[in-house]
């Protein structure tokens, strides 16, 4: 536990606080030293831990797969290449079955999403106290290492997918076609255009929101449970921690998979004419 025996509430709040750097109305550009300060910074703040760990995981993904790609031979694969090829093939099959259309971006996009999210989620298996404690010793107040428990990260990725949905909708159907789709479905009558528009725009916005919040919700809830388990006496922690961690191996993979599949499906829908 951090510091000099904080209360459970303080402990939980501490573990759920991101390391925030931003513009504070009073202190200017600075690190936030409390949850309150972080909240006061409003939009102009950056979660350094979320950014750092997510970029580190992304870089790890790129490095691993680039390495495998560089030594990829057409001969008998081995070790890393085997594992990487398994993932690539899995994603390729997934895209082939879920994406109807031709777009060379979709498969690499799905691969990036899947492996990146998987790596970020996997950080959760690391005991909750390790990194916050380590960084406190190093003089850093907060360190929340799982980026996917930060709605900014999940919604950020969802926003990226959303931009692509809009981009490909307009590219494939044209601006007019896209507008027509929004205003004339599901009821093809001019009088119902406003109603259709409201319905479709809500439907469109719900896609990224659902995508981001589903991942965030699952990861955040799991993280809270881990933190609660960590409040138990040290000799009892493993009793609950181990089953929960094993269960989370499933959740971690499943959530990465769901995010990837839904992104592919949404992008596939963006490519289809109605």
């Amino acid at each position: 536990m951090a510091g000099n025996n904080p209360s459970p509430t303080e402990y939980i709040q501490h573990h759920l606080q991101n390391l925030t750097f931003g513009y504070h109305p009073e202190h200017g550009w600075s690190m936030a030293h409390s949850a309150l300060e972080a909240r006061e910074m409003g939009f102009w703040a950056l979660h350094l831990d979320t950014m750092g760990w997510s970029i580190a995981m992304g870089a790890l993904f790129i490095w691993l797969f680039r390495k495998a790609g560089r030594m990829a031979t057409t001969g008998v694969p081995s070790g890393l290449q085997n594992a990487v090829e398994m993932v690539v093939e899995f994603i390729e099959n997934l895209v082939r079955s879920a994406f109807h259309g031709r777009n060379p971006i979709i498969a690499p996009l799905a691969l990036t999403l899947f492996v990146w999210i998987l790596l970020m989620n996997t950080l959760k298996i690391i005991p909750v106290d390790y990194f916050p404690e380590l960084f406190i010793r190093l003089g850093v107040d907060y360190m929340k290492i799982v980026p996917t428990t930060d709605p900014n990260a999940t919604l950020g990725m969802a926003l990226g997918v959303f931009c692509l949905i809009i981009y490909y909708s307009i590219k494939v159907k044209g601006a007019g076609g896209f507008a027509k789709e929004l205003s004339l479905t599901p009821f093809n009558h001019w009088a119902l255009i406003p109603f259709n528009l409201v319905l479709e725009i809500i439907g469109l916005l719900v896609k990224p929101l659902g995508l981001g919040l589903r991942l965030f919700g699952n990861m955040f809830a799991g993280e809270v449970i881990f933190i609660l388990i960590a409040l138990l006496p040290f000799w009892a922690i493993w009793l609950l921690d181990v089953p929960w961690a094993i269960f989370h191996i499933l959740v971690v993979t499943l959530q990465a998979f769901i995010f990837t599949v839904l992104s592919i499906v949404y992008l596939s829908a963006a490519h289809e004419h109605h």
Binding site: T50, G69, E92
Partner: protein, 156 residues
Amino acid sequence: MNINMTLIGQTIAFAIFVWFCTKYVWPPISNALHERQKRIADGLDAASRATRDLELAQERANETLRESKEQASQILEQANKRSSQMIEEAREQARSEGERIVAGARAEIDQEVQRAKEELRAQVSHLAVSGAERVLEASVDEKAHRKLLDKLAAEL
């Protein structure tokens, strides 16, 4: 848990990673995968082709073997026939030779018998004459009785 610039930062990071993956990570792995797939398919093709070739060759070998067996048996049969024919011929020849020899011998015997008869006849006639001489105590004129003697001899 506030929504802040991190959202934008994540979107930018996401875009960069996707771009990098599309450009530098995906193509080599995907290419290698497909190339290998093609090579394996080619290999399997070649293997099945080789198997077919082997089967064909085996069939041809079997055919040749059967043919040569047939030929051998034909040759053997011919040889057998030929040898039995030769034996038959030799036998025939031997028989006819034997017959000829037997016939020759028989003719000679006949001749001998004839000659013996002739001699006997002459002697008999001579004996008869000398017998008659003795009976008659007189010489019989052989010339005068020649005709009678010959007749007697022919009757013998």
